[in-house]
C-alpha cells in the first residue's frame, strides 16, 4: 500500500493540506502565455518557481517549455526585484528575441510589493523593451486562488491588449480555458465547420504539440498573434468557455469594449457541447452543418450501444472546477453517477453548481471545493466507487484501492495522447466514453471467473 498511512476515519483538518488537488497561480499564467504566438513567459520571482513550472508542464506535454525567470537573490528580496526584471527583459530581447514577454508575479515578488506596471513602464522608458516589442504583466501571487485562477488572470491580461478600431471585424472571440492543445484545435475545427470566423485565445495548438523535424524553434508557428489579440476589441461577441478559466477575460472585453459575452461551460460531453454549438451559430449567425449533427448522432449512438456498462456506475472525479462541472453533467447524462467531486480550487459556487447538476442522482453526492485527494481517498475508503477520473496522482489511490482510473485533467505525467486526442466536442465525448468503457471492461475481463469470461461485449 503506497498510501498506507491514510486512515479511514475522517478527522477535520483546518491547517494541513495533504495531497492537493490544485497547485499555484503562476503555472497557470505560464501555460496561458504559451498560447500567445512568439511569446516568452517570464516568472518574476525565485528561479525555482520557473524551474518547477517548466518541469511540470514539460512532463505533461512532453514538449520544450521555454520560460525565463528574474532569479531573485536575497538582495533583490530585500531591495525589490526591479533591477532583476529590467535586466531580464533586456537579456531576453537581445538573446531570444520574442515578440512579446508575458510576465507573471509569484508569492515572493507580491509579498515584497514589486509594482509590475511601474517596472514595465520604466523598461520602455529606459530602452530595455525595444520599439515594437511588448511586455505584458499579470499579478498572480501563489497564496491566492490556484493554478486555474492564475491561468484566468493571464488570459484576462491578454484580453486587456485589445485595441478598438471603432469598426467590428465580424469575428467571434472564443476563450477556451485550460484545455489541451488538441482541444483548442478541435474548437477551431468545429467553428470552421459552422462557418464562424473566430479568434481563439489562448491557443497552445501548434506550440505544445509541435512536430519533431530536426529543427528547434523556441517560438513555433502556433499561438494567438498579438494582432489577433488587439483585434478582440472589434469582435461581434465573446464565448467564454468555463466560468473559472475564461469569464474574467470575456467580461473585461464586454465592459471595456462593449463586446457582448456569453459565459458557457467547457464543451465536454453532450449537453455542454450542444450549448456551445448553439451559442456559436447564434452569435455567428450561421447554420450548423449536417456533419456536426451527425457527429452528435454518433455520440448518442455510442451512449445507447454501451449504456448497460455505464448505468449507475459510481464515479469519483477530481480536478479543476470548469472541467468537473462539464464532466459531472456528462456522466449524469449517460446515467453514470458522480458521487465524489473534489477540486482544490476555492469557490462555494462550485459546490452549488455540482449539487444542482447531480440533484437527480440515485446516490448521495459529496462535493468539496478547496478539498484535497487525501480526503477523496478517505471518502473512497468509507464507500468505494467503480471508477476514478482525475490526474496522474490518482494512480496511487487507484492502486491501493484497486479501482480503475481514467486519466483526465492536469497534470498527466505517465501516459500519452492527451495532447493529441481531444476530449471537447462530440468526437471528444466519444473519446472520453471510449476511455471509460475500456477501463471498466478491462477490469471486468481481469476479474471474470473463467466460466463467466466473455468474448463479446
Amino acid at each position: 500500500m503506497l498510501l498506507r498511512h491514510t486512515p479511514k476515519e475522517i478527522s477535520e483538518r483546518t491547517a494541513l493540506t495533504i495531497n492537493p488537488a490544485k497547485t499555484c497561480q503562476p503555472i497557470g499564467a505560464m501555460y496561458a502565455a504559451l498560447g500567445i504566438h512568439g511569446c516568452l513567459p517570464h516568472s518574476h520571482g525565485s528561479q525555482g518557481c520557473c524551474a518547477y513550472h517548466r518541469s511540470t508542464l514539460t512532463r505533461h506535454y512532453k514538449e520544450p517549455i521555454s520560460a525565463a525567470t528574474s532569479s531573485f537573490t536575497e538582495g533583490s528580496s530585500v531591495f525589490g526585484g526591479q533591477a532583476n526584471l529590467l535586466q531580464a527583459i533586456s537579456t531576453i530581447f537581445s538573446v531570444y528575441n520574442p515578440e512579446i514577454i508575458a510576465v507573471h508575479t509569484t508569492c515572493l515578488s507580491e509579498t515584497i510589493g514589486d509594482d509590475l506596471p511601474q517596472i514595465m513602464k520604466k523598461s520602455i522608458d529606459e530602452g530595455n523593451t525595444p520599439e515594437g516589442k511588448i511586455v505584458i504583466g499579470a499579478s498572480t501571487p501563489s497564496y491566492v486562488g490556484s493554478h486555474v485562477t492564475g491561468f484566468s488572470t493571464m488570459v484576462k491580461t491578454m484580453a486587456d491588449m485589445a485595441e478598438p478600431t471603432g469598426k467590428k471585424n465580424g469575428k467571434v472571440n472564443i476563450i477556451p480555458g485550460w484545455v489541451e492543445p488538441c482541444d483548442m484545435e478541435e474548437i477551431k475545427r468545429i467553428a470552421a465547420m459552422i462557418g464562424v470566423d473566430i479568434t481563439l485565445f489562448p491557443d497552445t495548438s501548434g506550440v505544445l504539440n509541435s512536430p519533431l523535424s530536426g529543427e528547434y524553434t523556441m517560438f513555433p508557428k502556433g499561438g494567438t498573434t498579438v494582432a489577433e489579440l488587439k483585434g478582440c476589441a472589434n469582435a461581434i461577441g465573446t464565448l467564454a468557455l468555463g466560468e473559472w478559466c475564461s469569464a474574467d477575460a470575456a467580461r473585461l472585453l464586454d465592459t471595456k469594449h462593449k463586446v457582448p459575452c456569453s459565459i458557457l461551460d467547457m464543451p465536454f460531453g453532450l449537453k455542454a457541447t450542444d450549448r456551445f454549438i448553439n451559442a456559436l451559430r447564434t452569435v455567428g449567425g450561421t447554420t450548423v452543418p449536417e456533419e456536426i449533427t451527425d457527429e452528435r448522432g454518433q455520440l448518442i449512438d455510442f451512449i445507447s450501444d454501451m449504456h448497460q456498462y455505464f448505468y449507475h456506475k459510481k464515479v469519483a472525479i477530481v480536478g479543476d472546477p470548469d472541467q468537473l462541472i462539464s464532466m459531472a453533467e456528462f456522466l449524469m447524462s449517460i446515467d453514470m453517477c458522480p458521487v465524489y467531486v473534489i477540486t482544490g480550487t476555492p469557490g462555494k459556487r462550485f459546490e452549488r453548481r455540482i449539487k444542482e447538476i447531480t440533484k437527480e442522482s440515485p446516490f448521495p453526492v459529496k462535493v468539496k471545493a478547496q478539498g484535497d485527494m487525501f480526503l477523496l481517498h478517505q471518502w473512497i475508503k468509507n464507500d468505494p466507487v467503480d471508477l476514478i477520473i482525475g490526474n496522474t496522482y490518482c494512480k496511487y489511490i487507484s492502486r491501493d484501492e484497486d479501482i480503475p482510473l481514467v486519466r483526465w485533467g492536469f497534470p498527466i505525467l505517465d501516459r500519452q495522447g492527451h495532447q493529441y486526442f481531444p476530449t471537447v466536442g462530440y468526437k471528444g465525448g466519444i473519446r472520453i466514453l471510449e476511455k471509460i468503457l475500456s477501463s471498466l471492461l478491462d477490469r471486468t475481463d481481469r476479474d471474470a471467473p473463467e466460466e463467466k469470461f466473455e468474448l463479446v461485449f
Partner: protein, 546 residues
Amino acid sequence: MPKTKKVVEWKPVDVKTELLKQYPPKVARKRAKQILINEAQENSAPPEIMANVRTIPGIITMRGCTYAGCKGVIMGPTSDIVNLVHGPIGCSFYAWLTRRNQTSASGEKNENFITYCMSTDMQDSDIIFGGEKKLAAAIQEAYDLFHPKSIAVFATCPVGLIGDDIHAVAKRMKDKFGDCNVFAFSCEGYKGVSQSAGHHIANNQVFTHIVGTSPTEKTDKYKINLLGEYNIGGDGFEIDRILKKCGITNIATFSGNSTYDQFASANQADLSCVMCHRSINYVADMLEVKYGIPWIKVNFIGANATAKSLRKIAQYFEDDALSEQVEKVIAEEMPSVEAIRKDVYPRTEGKKAMMFVGGSRAHHYQELFKEMGMKVLSAGYEFAHRDDYEGRQVLPNLKVDADSRNIEEIFVEPDPSLYKPRKSEDEKISLEEKGLKFKHYEGLNPDMESGSIVIDDLNQYEAERLVQLMKPDIFCAGIKEKFSIQKMGIPMKQLHSYDSGGPYAGFKGAINFYQEIDRLVNSKVWSLMKAPWEESPELSATYVWE
C-alpha cells in the same frame, strides 16, 4: 545515394566566441569567465572557472532554487520523516514524487511518507497576519494523523519575508509531543544562487538535529556511510547489493532510501564514502571533526570506477579477508558487464557526448562514456562550486560572496563522549603512502580531455548553439532541456532523474547504461525525421505510370 553532409569542425576557442556573440557586453563578460577551454597541460596551471555565482536574470537557466535542493533533493528521499512545507501550495506540489528517488521504506514500522504531499497552503490572510499559528496547527494535525518519529518543516519564499519563526514553532511542538523530533529548514527559494545552498541548509540541520542520537549500537565489522547518493532509479539499491555482497555494512546513506535511524546512527560508521562531492563534502568534514570518521571520495558510476571504489574501501580497513572478498565480488560481477560492454562497443565507439548536470554527475558519468569508447566534447555543472571543477586545493582561495555568506556554516568540535578517531595520524599517513587519499577530490577538469569545453551554469541559448555547432551524438541534462534538444534530432538523456529506467550505478547499473545509450544513439527514429517529399522536393512532374 545519400548526400554526405560536410561537417565543419569548430575549434573550441571559436565555439566559445560563437556562444558569447549574441550577448549584451555585460552578460558576455560574465559568461566568458564561466566558459573554459580545458587546457590542463603539464607545465601550466589549469585555468580558473567562475562558478557558484548569480544566474543572469532572463537567460533561461537550468537551475532551480534553494528550497528544491533542501526539500526535493536532500530531505525528499527519507521515508519515515513527515515533510511539511510551510508556504503557498505550489512548492510542495511540485516536489511531490517527481524525482524518482526510490524507497524500500525500511524504517522500523515500514513508514513511507514519500507519497504524501503536505503543505500549510498559505493564503493571503496568512501572509498579512503571519503564518505561525497555522503552521503549529498543521504540525499538530500531521502528528495526530501519522504519529511520525520526526516532522521536518520547510520554509518557502514568503515565510522568510513575513518573518515567521519556524524554528521556534518547531521547537515548541517538539517539546509538546516529547516523542517526535520536529525541526525546521530556513530554505527560502531566494537564498543562495542555486539548489546548492539548499543542500547545505538541509545537511546542516540533519547533522544538528539527528546525527548521533541513536541509542542502538551497530556492531558490524566494516561500517561505512555513503554520502551524496540519492537512489535515483534505484542506484542506491544496486550499491547496497554490492556492498552487502562484499560484507560491508552501509550504516547511513545521505540520503537515498534513507531512514531517520540511519541518519541517527551515522556517527557509528568507521569510514565516510563521498559520492556527490558538491552536495555533501562538508558533512563528511563534520563527521570527521565531531566523531573522528575519516572520509574518502568514491564513485560507483562506471564498472571500473565501482571496482576501484570497493578496493579503496577495502584498503582503508586493512583486512585481507575483506580485500579477498572484494576481489571475489569484482571477479564475479565483471564478466557479465564486460560481455555487454563488448557487445555495444562497436556501436558506441567514437560517438560524442555532452553533459550538463548536477554537481558531480557531469564528472561521474565520464567513466561510463569512456568505457563505451565515447568522447565527451563538453561538460559542466548546474550548481557546482569551483572545487568541483578544479579540485579541493582551491578551497582556501575561494571568495565568500554576499550570496554564500547568508548560508549558515556550522562549526563543530569533537564530541565529548562520541569522538573516537578511527585511524591515528600515523595510520592515515601510512595509508596515504600506499595510495589511499583522504579528503581528496581532484574535480572534473583533470578528467576532461585537453581542448574540451567546460561550461558552468549552461543556459538554453548556449545549449542550442553548442548542439548546432558541435553536433554531439547525445546530450545529457534535465527534463527542462530534454525536448528542445530532441527537436533538433539529437537524443537526450536525463541524468537527474534518468527519464525512466536505471539503476546506472554499480555493475548492473553499468550494463543498464551501456544498453540505454546504445538504444538512444542508434535509435531508428532519428533517421525518420524527413518525409520522402522533403528529402527530394525537386521531383519532376512525371508520374510513375506514364
